[in-house]
Amino acid sequence: MKGQLSYIIKPITLVMIIVLLIVLYQSISESTVREKLAQNRLNAVSGTTDVLLVLANSYDCLAYRTGSESVYSNVVDVNKLDDFSKKYGAIEPECARSYEFGWRAKIYEVGKDGQPTGAIWAFGAQDFSIGDARLDYMNLSMPIAIRRSEKMISPGKMEVVLVEGDLEKIAGGIDWFCQVGKKGRMTSSSFSIYIHGTVDYDAGSLCLTPAGSKKKNCRQMLCQLEFEGLKSAGEHLLSLSYVEGKVVIK
């Protein structure tokens, strides 16, 4: 009887151990995914805050400065706002460019009720990754002062929408190489990227069509490209070379 009981218990124990190990494996996998998501979230919030701070505090961006004196933190120059709105209507300004994210800033004056009044300025990327191709999204704001003249500095807010996704990563990687290539510091490079859809290049814009969607999301590129596109979703290795002012991608 003892022996028969042992024959029953041992297989049951074995099965339960296997089940436990599967649960352990799944839990580790799930934790890794969560960790990845949390890391993305962390990067997004950190990236958005950084963009806001750089825009509002850097003289190269929007911060006001008198002559050679120090920069006024969080006081943005209305002339620069006008200039940025014209020059960077479809792409992030270089002073606050992140090659991992895409972002668009909106700046407006606020009235006594805290609501927008008067002019609104916007600049940065106009289109972002959507669906599975979008890894994270963040929308944060920061108070600023908008300087029209020495005697007219009014309250305002700067909002930044930041997106991390396949389009932003591939465009960011190519734009980064373009910048380095223009300065003559690198002539060839490569990187691998996972794309949730297809990619094509047309008229100065890189476009991503998410899998199962017909809508293209496009980004203006810094350099002219020679690129036949990526015809399928999945992992791709891109080889880049900088030739006569163009980025050639194979």
């Binding site: 124990t13 151990i17 436990l20 352990l24 839990s27 805050t49 009720d113 944060l140």
Partner: protein
């Protein structure tokens, strides 16, 4: 049987260990990222608060065009939340200006600001107008002898006091060796000046006296209006405590019943010119928010018996060039003059004083009292927003504020909560 029990226990220990591993993985891997994420989110909120505070202090107030940091600095110097920028700009309430901006950016009930006002005594600037008729010979002697020394004594105590005496037209030549004019009568110092009112009349006559200008040696209503409008010799300092002082023994323009040969005040007379002059002084003082203190010289030799005195001055029209005139007219009008002085003082936030004797020996005591009383009541600090809750997570930003003129700094603490 024992062996099977051990097998089951072994499995249980394994199961507990696996569950423990799963929990540890969740706690350390995901939990730590959760904490970091919260820290990053908090970093953003802190940067948002810091940016808001920084930008608000750089924002300008619409009427004055000055930044809020400058306004808080001025308020700290004055020890008062409300700053007066003169007639064209008017009052600016610093707390209200801060409140709407902070409310707009952080929402009502989510912030608190406190800035300590340093212990500063602001400078005092005075413009004085002296009736230049011969009955004021006593006063001019007192002022000449004692006024510069009085101002110097305040300066030696570390108080910034300056006075500009504007002499009405007239220039009576007194028997006591003085003349009712500025030249050679007063020791000019960096803190005490004497000027004839006619020297500044071009700066103000059309503005203050409705085109009439300063008419007589007793026209102290228009005179003080002009003095306030033109300011002292060193010009008005927007941060000083400002005072106007009028010294006279008659009605503005004069106590005479014009066209009437009777002596003394005329109850039936409407004193239209006198009232117009008085009102010009009141209007100007109210416009600039400068209180007027009046000092009425009594023309009695004896205050109790009201025995009227006489004055002595030099004039070629009198025998031997010496005139001795009694003060019947002035004495008869004393009560009316007192009422005019009170009206002017009360309408402008000042006070009316009466000297004790014809000799005007206590004139400097009265001016001393006016200067001492001019020190404003200071608030200990600027406070705005809602009380800081004890049960909320708060963020505090410290801002260094330069206090105007003084060369020192004070700190403003802004507390924000969600």
């Amino acid at each position: 049987m024992k062996g099977q029990i051990f097998e089951i226990f072994g499995f249980l220990i394994l199961a507990i260990a696996v569950i423990g591993v799963i929990l540890l993985i969740r706690y350390f891997m995901v939990g730590s990222f959760g904490k970091t994420y919260l820290a990053m989110a908090e970093r953003h909120v802190y940067e948002e608060v810091h940016a808001g505070v920084n930008s608000i202090f750089f924002m300008t107030e619409e009427k004055s065009g000055r930044s809020l940091m400058e306004l808080v600095g001025v308020a700290a110097y004055m020890g008062n939340d409300t700053i007066n920028f003169g007639s064209s700009i008017g009052d600016v309430n610093v707390v209200k200006e801060l409140e709407w901006r902070f409310d707009a950016l952080y929402g009502k009930g989510h912030w608190h600001l406190q800035a300590k006002y340093p212990d500063i005594t602001p400078d005092v600037q005075m413009v004085m107008v002296l009736d230049a008729s011969a009955s004021m010979c006593y006063a001019v002697k007192e002022i000449s002898m004692k006024m510069p020394a009085l101002i110097e004594s305040f300066v030696r105590q570390g108080k910034g006091v300056t006075a500009t005496l504007y002499m009405l037209p007239g220039g009576a030549d007194c028997c006591n060796g003085y003349k009712l004019q500025c030249a050679n009568q007063f020791n000019e110092t960096p803190f005490f000046h004497c000027r004839g009112i006619t020297d500044i009349e071009s700066k103000c006559d059309t503005k203050t006296a409705k085109g009439t200008g300063i008419q007589t040696d007793e026209d102290y209503g228009n005179g003080i209006a002009c003095a306030i409008e033109a300011g002292p010799v060193e010009e008005w300092n927007p941060l000083s405590v400002k005072l106007g002082i009028v010294i006279s023994d008659e009605l503005p323009v004069g106590s005479e019943c014009f066209g009437d040969q009777r002596l003394g005040c005329c109850p039936g007379q409407d004193y239209a010119e006198q009232k117009k002059s008085l009102q010009a002084g009141i209007d100007s003082a109210k416009k600039y928010k400068i209180p007027i203190f009046t000092i009425q010289q009594l023309d009695y030799e004896d205050k109790e018996s009201k025995k009227c005195g006489t004055i002595c001055f030099r004039n070629s029209g009198c025998p031997g060039g010496i005139c001795n005139a009694d003060l019947q007219l002035q004495c008869a009008c004393t009560d009316t003059v007192t009422q005019y002085h009170r009206d002017m003082a009360s309408a402008t936030g000042g006070d009316a004083f009466t000297l004790d004797s014809l000799s005007a020996s206590d004139l400097i005591d009265k001016i001393n009292e006016i200067i001492i009383r001019a020190e404003p009541v200071r608030k200990p600090n600027l406070e705005a927003g809602s009380p800081v809750p004890s049960n909320k997570n708060t963020r505090v930003v410290e801002v260094l504020i330069p206090v105007s003129v003084s060369g020192i700094y004070t700190k403003a603490y802004v507390t924000q909560w969600s």
